[in-house]
Symmetry: D4
Subunit: 213 residues, 8 copies
């Protein structure tokens, strides 16, 4: 927590019993612990203590404590393109809330049907920080970046087939986005996007508090 972010572990691939043990320790101490990419075997190992934990199924996240939203922060708006991008989009949203950010979701507004996006432009304008999640052609951040003035964090997902190359196509689109000023994350890294959004939000609070650097 040295950098103001609670302890977080990537559960996938870890020994389920070891993960369960860490959760017991944190639950006892009352500290926040966040596990992302919680797989079925890890969930099984957590079963006995799951009642006392927070479990977000689609986001594949387990935490010791529920979110405590800091209402002095700006809203993080999570925008996603397609139905299959939802697990990553929820990883962003749940993590964002667990890290204290007021968070809003606008899902399924991909580039193939711009009308759905247009309807949401008012909501998007009111947000403080935008996180855009998209797979396949990964074109959504290019469009959002051309319309909005907020900081944009782009998360490519591994959704697609063939030449989507498990997210590489979307990643390249985002790195080459014609609308400049988009920060790009690793493929499927919803957690990292939420951390960066939190750091930007904390920066805003420091500035606001006159702790301008």
């Amino acid at each position: 927590a040295r950098t103001g972010i609670p302890e977080a572990i990537l559960a996938e691939g870890k020994d389920p019993l070891a993960v369960a043990e860490i959760f017991e320790r944190y639950a006892r101490s009352g500290d926040q612990l966040i596990a992302t990419r919680v797989t079925a075997p890890v969930l099984d190992a957590l079963r006995p203590q799951l009642d006392g934990l927070q479990h977000y199924k689609v986001a594949r996240i387990v935490s010791t404590r529920p979110p405590e939203i800091d209402n002095d922060r700006a809203t993080v708006c999570v925008i996603s393109a397609g139905a299959l991008d939802r697990p990553v989009a929820e990883e962003v949203a749940v993590t964002s809330r667990l890290l204290g950010n007021p968070t809003r979701e606008i899902f399924d507004v991909g580039v193939a049907g711009l009308n759905r996006l247009v309807v949401e432009l008012g909501t998007i304008e009111k947000a403080g920080i935008l996180v855009v999640v998209a797979g396949m052609d990964g074109a959504l951040p290019s469009v959002i970046g051309g319309l909005a003035s907020q900081p944009v964090i782009a998360v490519p997902t591994s959704v697609g087939y063939g030449t989507s190359f498990k997210g590489v196509a979307a990643l390249l689109t985002m790195l080459n986005a014609c609308s400049p000023g988009t920060g790009v994350m690793n493929i499927d890294n919803g957690f990292g996007a939420a951390v960066l959004a939190t750091k930007i939000n904390q920066f805003g609070q420091r500035v606001s508090a006159g702790l301008r650097e």
Copy 2:
């Protein structure tokens, strides 16, 4: 010309004198000959006979005869994203005209400023076939494909730097376009796009003539 398309050569890399000789032959016979990707040395070799030829500088095309537009065909609309995409976009437009298609250009309407595109939507709607040219993120065909009902031909360009990988990023975006039904060309292949547009236009004429297959 077995397939209804006049003879065309890719000049780049060819022996300039050999290219000049072919042009002399075609000029004599009065047949149409199109050379694309005409480089400086080829142009130098053509210099003595250039007065009798058609030269399209930006498109890097030389032909023996001027376009003869077949006004019974539908309009091919060439839409391009950025200023640097212009040589390829002009290769599409000039070739399209040399192959007889009524052709229209809408340039510089990239995704970073959707407003410029919105202004042109009326014109786009009236076209018969759309050819969309874009480099960098290559996102323009995804957006057009979501808005229009015509056949869309997408041409990635080698414009960009770093992870644009000389057009590969744009190509992948187009192959993964969320709006289905886009036919993709090789990187910078404006010529091929115009040929496909012509074949679609000729198909329309055959259908119209009751030569429905």
Copy 3:
């Protein structure tokens, strides 16, 4: 359906129950709904209502309504190279029919035995639009494109091993096809090929109806 194509979903990776629910809704309203890449778990979830639906096993497609062929359109001819390309080739053919196109299949005429292709040249000549499906070396569209004058849509398949790189080799062959004017689709994207063929066919109808643009 804004662009004249009925609603279609890519079932693979989606929550089977969610897919089943959408099908119930569309079946009730009587609207056409097409699901491609229907996997075993999705099929299981659809089982209770499958009697009222159309199921195309090899093509892995389920739809609410049977095809309604528009006999005023030109024939879409689906040509495939090898036995293993059949699922993608059938995805093209079934989608093409569900989108209303008279459709014909010429399967197993790969480049390794050109004689089998030669026999079919008469049939191919009579078609309006050609969709060519091939894996491994992906050489078939190059050959067809050199013989035919119709618009050619090329679909690389992930068939092959080693350096076929799950369809990348076939894709590159098609993008570099020496016979110009081929529009290329994403690997295994039979659905998109049928959509583009339909758009070309609808274009022909608009031209024929004097709605020339």
Copy 4:
């Protein structure tokens, strides 16, 4: 300037005369215009009017107007790893200043000699936003991200040889940075990094002004 960023053009590859013309227009109107990646031929075309323009040689930037620093904003700290990363690092710093940010440079503090970095930790701590520029192994953002709590923007450079693959190695390192919450830019995209830093700074000002969203 719709998104609060002055007009900017990527000069490289553009027609030098066209670039010169735009500069004349902007100089006349007194508006800010920024050209990045100004190559020798472009500079030659600008020569007649260069006295009235701002020219940043190492950064390869030309602008119509000098920076106007907004001292109410937080400091953007540009940290770079090696001597060869300097052109990109200066592109970040100059753009950052031209966009109004108080900006500081800490150059040549690469991972191979951590002691040089340690000396600067106090300065880094006082900054509001960190932009880290590195080529070759691209390891610097991982280290900075583990030490600092501010938002980190990482810019891979094309510096290196062999398996640096013109910046791809550094890019991958940054996308996989073990310290979460780093936003990554395209290779050599110093301009984009400065734009994102500016957007974060503007966000801080909006929050500070009570325009919290």
Copy 5:
């Protein structure tokens, strides 16, 4: 054993019964045999004789004989970055011991928390040869190489997701390490790293014995 290294087999992919047979043969003769990457089926085939063998579970290694440490050699220090790198790090450490080297482990000291590494610097300084194991960004050898003067052997692991590309990102980081003089191994090749460390240690012994070449 021609090169002073006992017989070793890579068990993964081999016929389990054939592996079991070789072990029986070596156990009978009393010679050392090391099997790495022992998978579940191989372990099953070894079950009947496992009591007489050495089995290292996390390292996935089985050997006929226990380590015989040569205390005249320098210490090989195995340093790893993250929790998930442990199987490869243990493959290094166990193999190193089985090949006779005094061996020490410093695990979980990744770049994201340099403080954990700093604590261990004294121990690291006392070692003779350093083997550094890291996945994801693979940045740890760059940092160690900048701090230490011993020979450094770097082992990239396949730990990570998305653009870690199963270890390629870490491999590239290591090949481009800014601190020169790091020898890099194939991804996940802990065995090879231990062999090279052993050869360096044996070289030290030969020099020490006056067998200087």
Copy 6:
């Protein structure tokens, strides 16, 4: 010449003076020396002695001695697809002759116009060994391999642009050729193809001489 092939050097990249010196030595001894990929600076260094050497301009080959054809061998038939493939095709043909093989050329019979190939089928049938040279889609060996029963050696060339990836697309097509039994060479390696053809021809002579192994 240990393997029955005269000394050959790849001139490109070598010190021109060093190449000239070797030629002087071989010319004096009267032995055959073949230099491939002779660049302009190498040619300049050879200029003083060029009169006594054989120079093949398009093939970029210089040799000390003219070909001595062994008429007891079978004919090597070199078939190429496009005009730009000629330098590599000539490298095959010239080397083949210098190595003693009766050699025939059939150029410009690419897949885009199968009729040109059909005309040559009689000649092809009479050859003993086929070397097929093609760039871009590299489809020609697939077609030839389906028609002929001789051993086929395929040489991809770096001809093309965009996704031809300097010959990689053609190489992959050839490695995946649907007609089995094609041996593939490195991109642009006309020399190696001629060596393999020679080894096959020498094998035929050994068999014929009753030296059957």
Copy 7:
């Protein structure tokens, strides 16, 4: 069988029942049919008729008829590097015999222990055609090609891990083999290697029969 090679099918991925049916047909007619890459489900479908067929387990091949060796042909010598390369090496050897070639196997003579190879040099020298099978570094054909004068066919295998990239490393080694005149096959394509060896052998017979072309 147009090209003198019996019918052969790649069973992997094919419908098992369809494969079984073809085998019944060929068994009835008494014609030779070869299936390679026979997977467990295909084998199950063949079970009822397996007694009447030839089954080669390690080679994963089933055929209707046993080999009929043509003793007038030269010997095909199959040389492989490591234990894990055996399935591909056996695919070469079994196919080679089924196609009528006297065939010899020299297995496990990889570059890591050149002494094992040296022992076999006499046998290798007596063979007519060499097929070299290797995974991992794929270095064996380079060594063999430097020692032998026969035609060499190189088959990379997918054996290895990490940067072996499922055979790509071995493939590249073989394409770049310093000893010129090696024909390379697709990864794991033992069948194709045997076909090419057969074509070379048939060529030798035609030459021997005075049917020199």
Copy 8:
């Protein structure tokens, strides 16, 4: 020099005047400074002071002081495969000497002619540390590693064409070398190889001095 290695700079790409200035400073102080990859413009800038410096032309190295060989160290033996690998091989040898190691060169002993290598085996056996330099197929370290028991450092070079991919093929071969215990460097990184060899040699001296860790 914190790690016992004198200051070294990579000159390529650096400002020639800046390089010249550093050399003046080091020359004045009498300290050792090594510049590698010295390009023509850098050499021009150094011209006025070149008389007082050491210049190694083929190795492209300039240093302030000549080598001071430490004869208590073991010999570093630099082995290279082809003529074109010489610049990198000399970069290893010159750097090795400048870092104080007794150094020996065995050049042009590539795998295509193993006999040349066999002659040198005695010399190789007497060396303490082996550095093997090879391009194209990069097979030489595999062979050396199978014959020798010393630590092997492998340096891939960018020598080759087509699928050598500027050294990637050689790099992959080395990373997958069947003879375990080879440490691999970045492509063309002769300097790094010499540094690692020096660290191993210094390790040997520390062990020998009883400073065993």
